[in-house]
Subunit: 242 residues, 2 copies
């Protein structure tokens, strides 16, 4: 795990800026709460990348407003031009998969190089803000099939960031890519969020919601979310179709 | 220099796909010609990132068509949301700078993390194409002030790519980020392009063209281009305002 994942004392980062990647899901809402508690001035970044689950973007807006982000930018980035994922292309989202199926290899909902793209854009914004901290809610427990959710990847990206930027060249800063959730279970993330006052009813996880934004209850993301609340012993505020 | 920069025998990569970053300038047109000569099936990628010099994008389209790219995608990416560069924000492009000014530190035309962002998106597309080769026309001679034009940066990105992707995890591929121009002077690049039949009249370099697309003749990019043709002993086909 990166040195950047040390625990912060509350308020210890007052006066520092950080870019936080916010998807509208429960993981990134918890990360935003953690960055705020550390004292960071939070610049939240979301992406409209042609995802099927666009209710995420409305959720991201609500989460940022409710939790006091200083600024929230939603960048349009039409990854559908590339194809290759059930989240952006016209492929059915898998439903009611058993654990062994969810754990076997890389899911078809994988978006090629997504976290590399998101972190790169966060890096560009952070550099123009004179920030050197970026938060991302990757998780190696529930998303073990995604290569870009692993610590080795995050460390390599951090090293690239140090070489990619003006501050890297001038030696004035070292980039910190914070991944505070990387080793937590979904239940632990939910408990942490509850402790920090996150309103999870504002968040959205489903890959395949109905037209009103209700969660399907059966995609991998719904299954993990439901189980997480159950196992955390926290009431699940999500409206499920079924 | 990366191992990926070995010279290719003409046609030796027949049947392989590569993503080539094409800006519309003379460097990337030459890179595209080099990839084609090696035999790659070229998937060209350009960005509409809110740059002031949008004539580049028309130039990119013409270059790709004239040189036989299999596909050309121009991705919209509004980096103006982040601010921080004379190429995207409303700051005057510097003119008629002396050599020592051009060489001193990082120019204000630097776009934060631009090559990291562009390479990440190329990586996403390449992965969905089952390609493992990416070409970028970075140059450490004329752009020594840009951190993301250096070999160390490219090598770090390559390492990140190997950890970021499905093919990296499954161990089936090793990413090659090719930077065939990295140690060439502008005159050498022009001579190489001429040898490969590049029509430089289709390319555009100026940071601050007039309304009809004519080059200003005085920004850093025009100065380097003019001198390059002069020093290569090749007639400069560029229409300059002055």
């Amino acid at each position: 795990m990166s040195m950047a994942d040390e625990k912060f004392e509350p308020g210890s980062m007052n006066g520092h800026r950080a870019v936080v990647l916010v998807s509208g899901g429960l993981d990134s809402a918890t990360v935003l709460a953690m960055a705020k508690q550390a004292g960071f001035d939070v610049f939240a970044l979301s992406f409209d990348y042609g995802q099927r689950h666009r209710f995420e973007l409305e959720a991201a807006e609500k989460v940022c407003r409710s939790m006091g982000a200083s600024r929230h930018v939603t960048l349009s980035l039409d990854l559908r031009a590339f194809g290759g994922s059930a989240l952006t292309a016209d492929i059915d989202v898998p439903k009611d998969r058993a654990d062994d199926e969810m754990e076997a290899g890389i899911p078809i909902t994988y978006v090629p190089a997504r976290n590399t793209v998101f972190l790169s854009l966060a890096l560009g914004w952070a550099e123009s803000l004179d920030a050197s901290d970026i938060f991302i809610g990757v998780n190696a427990v529930d998303y073990s099939g995604y290569p870009d959710c692993r610590t080795e990847f995050i460390q390599a990206f951090e090293q690239t960031a140090n070489l990619a930027t003006k501050s890297g060249v001038e030696g004035s800063a070292h980039w910190n890519i914070h991944t505070p959730l990387i080793e937590l279970t979904k239940a632990e993330i939910i408990r942490e969020g509850v402790a920090l006052g996150v309103d999870f009813s504002l968040t959205h996880s489903c890959y395949d919601p109905d037209k009103t934004g209700r969660a399907c209850g059966h995609c991998d993301s719904c299954i993990l979310r439901r189980r997480g609340f159950e196992s955390a012993g926290v009431p699940d505020p999500t409206p499920y179709v079924d």
